[in-house]
């Protein structure tokens, strides 16, 4: 806020608050003028007395205005340090100020109680969902081992569905871990070829079930400093989307050393131009999401959040019907990330 814009209304405001005094002053002046006129006092004597009175009056008003302005600014300034700055409220002068001050203190106490209980509830909730995420993995593991003993259509379909459950549980766990434990990021050299190969093994059954091809063009010994677990999770979202939205053709993962970019491209349905800018938003599903009811708008959001913490730039290029290219651009060597 500039001084100009606060001063003018402030002056008018102050003038209005002193309206009573000004009206009173005007009345007194009129009475004096009338009486002095009635007694035939020389006009210059009256004017002289008036002039002398004006001097202390003006002084009082100017001082009063300046004090009022200083107070106004001091209180306004507290806004920046809320809620702690409430203790620095100026000592009230008028009863109204005193009451307002008390109200503010009460509000603050209420606010603090609310925050504490919200924090506590949030912590309890994340603790529980984290526990749940771990609990669900044991039955998933058991079911997976049972299904591995069967080799038929039903078992394969159930395995596919189980794989999705596993993915969702994994995503939920990571979603909660995202802001609760920044310290879980451990940076070390990652072999990108190995990361991609491991993901391909993980998604093998999905690729086979849909009859999609896969090509990994990442040279052996492509090493980047990152957190392997989180990087895998981010890449997994891109790969999972590529499989989900591709019916024919395949997926290619390629590394471009000159731009330090890992690209996941597919031959799928692509993304419409009006959806493209918003795909990384939490909960955004767009047209593709309406077609595919399993879309929740979490995967890409999670991917972007993870990449942000890894210092990786993520971008999507797509056109409807022409496939999608998802690009992960790694930070330059020695760059500072979290």
């Amino acid at each position: 806020m500039s001084k100009q814009s606060t001063d003018k209304p402030l002056f008018l405001f102050w003038l209005r608050s002193r309206a009573m005094a000004l009206v009173l002053l005007l009345c007194c002046t009129l009475i004096f003028a009338l009486v002095l006129w009635a007694y035939r006092v020389a006009w210059h004597a009256a004017a002289y007395a008036g002039l002398l009175c004006l001097l202390p009056l003006a002084l009082v008003f100017v001082v009063d205005y300046l004090r009022s302005r200083a107070r106004y600014r001091a209180i306004l300034h507290l806004e920046e340090g809320l809620p702690e700055s409430l203790t620095y409220l100026p000592v009230p002068i008028e009863p109204g100020e005193q009451a307002a001050g008390r109200l503010l203190t009460a509000m603050e106490a209420l606010y603090r109680r609310r925050v504490t209980s919200d924090d506590q509830r949030y912590r309890q909730m994340t603790d529980y969902y984290t526990l749940w995420g771990h609990q669900i993995k044991t039955p998933i593991a058991a079911m997976r081992l049972l299904l591995a003993q069967e080799d038929n259509r039903m078992a394969r379909q159930l395995s596919g569905e189980l794989f999705k459950i596993e993915q969702y549980a994994e995503m939920a766990l990571h979603y909660m871990r995202l802001d609760s434990q920044a310290s879980d990021f451990v940076f070390a050299p990652c072999d990108l070829q190995e990361v991609c190969a491991r993901l391909a093994r993980k998604f093998a059954a999905m690729f086979v079930a849909k009859g999609l091809s896969l090509q990994i063009d990442v040279p052996k010994g492509t090493v980047q400093r990152s957190d392997e677990k989180w990087l895998s999770l981010a890449l997994e979202q891109l790969l999972s989307n590529a499989i989900k939205y591709t019916a024919k053709g395949g997926v290619r993962i390629a590394w471009a050393a000159d731009t330090r970019t890992l690209t996941v491209s597919d031959t799928g349905i692509g993304i419409s131009p009006q959806d493209l800018p918003r795909v990384f938003e939490q909960g955004f599903t767009g047209y593709n999401g309406r077609v595919d009811r399993e879309s929740t708008g979490i995967g890409l959001f999670l991917c972007r959040e993870v990449c942000r913490r890894l210092g990786i730039g993520v971008r999507l290029d797509a056109q409807p019907g022409q496939g999608t290219q998802a690009m992960l651009r790694f930070p330059p060597e020695g760059a500072d990330v979290e």
């Binding site: 044991t138 593991a141 081992l145 049972l146 038929n152 190969a197 391909a200 086979v208």
Partner: protein, 223 residues
């Protein structure tokens, strides 16, 4: 034969892990009394312990510490918490490696083998499969029949291994392809057909006629 102690309170997981590892030629025992894990440990004297992190009463970390007091056997943690913190804690407690649930039995077997090799210097001999006179050595990628020997390519080796593991069952093309994909060979349907045909010809050449049978729309079966 290596003895592996399995400390896992989910009976289905423990059973499946034990079955699978027995198939790889290990002797296994499943702990059932989770108050007395050390009694089983002393009694069975295992060369390796597979330890679940979440156990009734005392957790896996507790038993890891207890085992470390008296032994340096490799300990492999089975855990549902795959985060870095758990891994670091497990390693600090004296674990040798960690596998996150849900895991794949093939991956588990590979980890067990790697740990044993690291701890005892040599890997356990991968079991040689035998069926109708044909011997398959997956570690060396060779097939033997009536004194003759044939070298197999990586894909042929994996196909024959999968068929051998499912002797007497029809193995679907999907399963074969998935197994191949899991060894970083991203083949398509046609390549699988070609690979199976080549493998068949090789086995024919050894004298094992009609060894791999085709079930239309179902898959393949060892004859």
């Amino acid at each position: 034969m290596y003895r592996l102690l399995i400390v896992e309170d989910d009976p289905i997981i423990a059973g499946a892990v034990a079955d699978s590892l027995r198939g790889w030629g290990y002797e296994t025992r499943i702990v059932t009394d989770f108050e007395q894990v050390m009694r089983d440990f002393a009694d069975f004297d295992p060369q390796m312990v597979l330890l679940d992190l979440k156990l009734p009463r005392y957790g896996g970390f507790h038993w890891c510490r207890e085992i470390r007091r008296i032994s340096t056997v490799p300990i492999l943690f089975l855990t549902s918490a795959g985060d870095n913190l758990t891994a670091v804690t497990a390693m600090n407690m004296g674990a040798d490696d960690l596998i996150a649930k849900p895991f794949d039995l093939g991956v588990l077997a590979a980890k067990v083998e790697a740990l044993l090799r690291r701890a005892y210097g040599f890997a356990p001999a991968t079991p040689v499969h035998e069926h109708r006179g044909l011997l398959h050595n997956p570690a060396e990628a060779t097939a033997h029949y009536a004194g003759e020997q044939a070298a197999l390519t990586r894909n042929e080796n994996r196909i024959l291994q999968t068929l051998m593991e499912h002797r007497g069952q029809v193995v679907s093309r999907e399963l074969l392809m998935t197994r191949l994909w899991e060894t970083d060979s991203y083949i398509d349907e046609n390549t699988l057909t070609v690979n199976v045909a080549r493998l068949r010809r090789k086995l024919d050449g050894l004298g094992a006629q009609d060894y791999i049978q085709t079930r239309k729309g179902e898959g393949y079966l060892l004859g």
